[in-house]
């Protein structure tokens, strides 16, 4: 008999303080990463403080660790926030579906991330960047409320320096600092200004619900992306991640099993329950 709710212990290899309240934690199990696919998620916990659901934010091709990013807000994340490198973290997963990269081969891709929603985007994006030759032009648009809210600042340079890759970073109006060199404007607004076309392209979008809503609209109506080619991930409250506990469903879809990755076309068929 196997207890599907039993976590494994992962070791914290590295902790990166991304912003004042967000961190990225890199983990290993038996000294290496685990097998997962971009877009999947896991249940992370400091035993005694409860589990939290996070998507992986690293590329599955980087075998030396797997990572996730989180914002400290509740009991579980406060617990995880207090951990140090070398400490143990309980982990279950990977769960859920994933970004089907085979459908992206040879196509132009635009990655759109907002705030901490960049985390799952980063996973698929780095996956693509790691196999750069398989894809066409890659555009990365990343926005956050303020400069201080941008995650992954330490690897912006790395993203920028891939060939045939454009990296645009923006902050909401009012969120810029005097020495800010990126763009200023809401993600959907900046997205519209990018030289993109809908044909033979895929858009991967994740961020706060309101951003997703408007980004999807922009991509579809103004830039000519078809609904099948816009992919996003849903974040619903979960407990088990295994399709049992019954709280993450949107209509007949269990986000933890049938999701979290959905195309805009699939989302359209779902009731407004997310």
């Amino acid at each position: 008999m196997e207890n599907i709710y039993l976590p494994k212990l992962a070791e914290i290899k590295e902790i990166i303080q991304e912003t004042a309240d967000t961190k990225t934690i890199r983990l290993t199990i038996d000294g290496k990463s685990i097998d997962f696919l971009p877009g999947q998620f896991g249940e992370f916990s400091l035993i005694g403080e409860g589990e939290s659901t996070f998507g992986f934010s690293s590329s599955p091709l980087r075998k030396e660790y797997f990572e996730f990013s989180f914002r400290t807000s509740g009991r579980a994340t406060t617990g995880i926030n207090g951990l140090n490198e070398g400490d143990k973290l309980a982990f279950r997963g990977p769960y859920g579906n994933y970004f089907d990269t085979s459908k992206m081969h040879g196509k132009d891709i635009v990655f759109v991330g907002g705030g901490i929603g960049m985390a799952p985007v980063k996973s698929i994006m780095e996956y693509c960047l790691d196999e750069r030759d398989k894809y066409g032009k890659i555009t990365i648009l990343y926005g956050a409320r303020t400069v201080g809210d941008l995650l992954y600042k330490n690897i912006f340079e790395e993203w920028k320096n891939h060939k045939d890759t454009e990296f645009v970073v923006t902050v909401d109006p009012g969120g810029e600092t005097p020495d800010w060199k990126g763009k200023v404007g809401f993600v959907p607004t900046i997205l519209e200004q990018l030289p993109l076309k809908g044909e033979n392209s895929i858009a991967v979008v994740c961020g706060p619900p309101i951003m997703i809503k408007f980004a999807l609209k922009t991509l579809e109506e103004k830039m000519g992306f078809s609904k099948e080619n816009i992919i996003t991930t849903l974040e619903n409250r979960m407990k088990c991640g295994l399709g049992k506990c019954g709280r993450c469903n949107v209509g007949s879809v269990y986000v933890c099993k049938d999701g979290p990755v959905f195309t805009a076309k699939e989302l359209e068929s779902l009731p407004n329950d997310f």
């Binding site: 409860g50 509740g74 009991r75 406060t78």
Partner: protein
């Protein structure tokens, strides 16, 4: 069943209130899923007032809806209340959860409501053995505060004195600590932590209940001892001096924990200690909002 005179009066008042625009919503009772049941109904249009009805099966405390966001957004509300329920309205006003200006109270004179489990089995007669214990000690058959009063057609509840309401309180008081503990351990063991007692209570209006706070986790989440005991104790404490004794918690409880034995005991204690009964005066300060320099001090060294 034809409309009774009570129903007609009620419908007339409701119609006038809605037509004149004095209220946007009437919360009342209507006939329920069987002839012995009534259920809440929400009337917004004058032509729908015929649904309104009242009888000795109107067990629900409609004041519970006054804490609901979906109901609050109607603004000015008319509510049908029995004497006990009306005290909940008063308490909500006392605790600034409700403005007197926004509420029209249609007071129903009531001589007791039949226990729902008996009514479901076919009981139709109001008597001291068929009504809730709260009705036997009721001092407010006529609500203490109302904008309209509808007099009852029911005969007065005759009390022989043989039925002792909440008799178990006295019995419990006489037990030893261990026996009391054994009694409550058995009762709380049944608890399934559905929190129906909280949801059914008109005065449990916290937007975030203590059981939902987990930094730290004040109340253990398990449905075993001692998590159940912690919950039941804190629920009872938070309602001490506030509970108006409508008994909705006990009625809602799916596992029949005698919650009213605790609530009533605390109400008596508060009255003995501070001479305060809740829900009787909208201008009174809640008992724990004030103090007296001469308060009971014997238990403190």
């Amino acid at each position: 069943m034809a409309n009774t005179k009570t129903d007609e009066k009620l419908q007339k008042i409701a119609k006038d209130l809605l037509e004149s625009g004095e209220v946007n919503l009437i919360i009342g009772y209507t006939k329920g899923s069987n002839p012995q049941r009534m259920r809440p109904v929400f009337i917004t249009k004058p032509e729908e007032v015929e649904k309104l009805s009242f009888s000795h099966n109107a067990v629900q405390d409609l004041a519970v809806f006054l804490k609901k966001q979906e109901v609050k957004k109607y603004g000015k509300i008319g509510i049908t209340v029995k004497g006990c329920d009306e005290k909940a309205v008063n308490s909500l006003i006392q605790e600034y959860q409700l403005s007197r200006d926004n509420i029209k109270i249609i007071g129903m004179q009531c001589n007791g409501v039949i226990k729902q489990n008996l009514a479901d089995k076919g009981e139709t007669k109001v008597s001291e053995t068929t009504v809730y214990d709260k009705c036997l000690i009721c001092q407010e058959h006529t609500p203490v505060l109302y904008d309209f009063l509808i007099e009852t057609e029911e005969p007065e509840l005759s009390l022989s004195g043989n039925v002792k309401p909440y008799a178990d309180i006295e019995k419990l008081d006489e037990l030893s600590t261990e026996e009391k503990n054994a009694y409550w351990a058995k009762e709380f063991d049944k608890c399934i932590k559905c929190y129906a007692c909280r949801q059914a209570c008109p005065l449990c209006f916290c937007s975030r209940c203590i059981v939902e706070k987990n930094m730290p986790q004040w109340i253990d989440t398990n449905s075993e001892e001692p998590g159940n005991a912690q919950w039941n104790m804190i629920r009872a404490y938070h309602l001490s001096g506030r509970c108006i004794g409508c008994g909705e918690c006990e009625r809602a409880c799916p596992v029949n924990i005698p919650l009213m034995l605790i609530n009533e005991k605390m109400a008596r204690d508060v009255y003995n200690l501070f001479g305060y009964k809740s829900g009787l005066d909208i201008n009174a300060k809640p008992v724990f909002g004030v103090f007296s320099e001469n308060d009971f001090n014997d238990f403190i060294k």
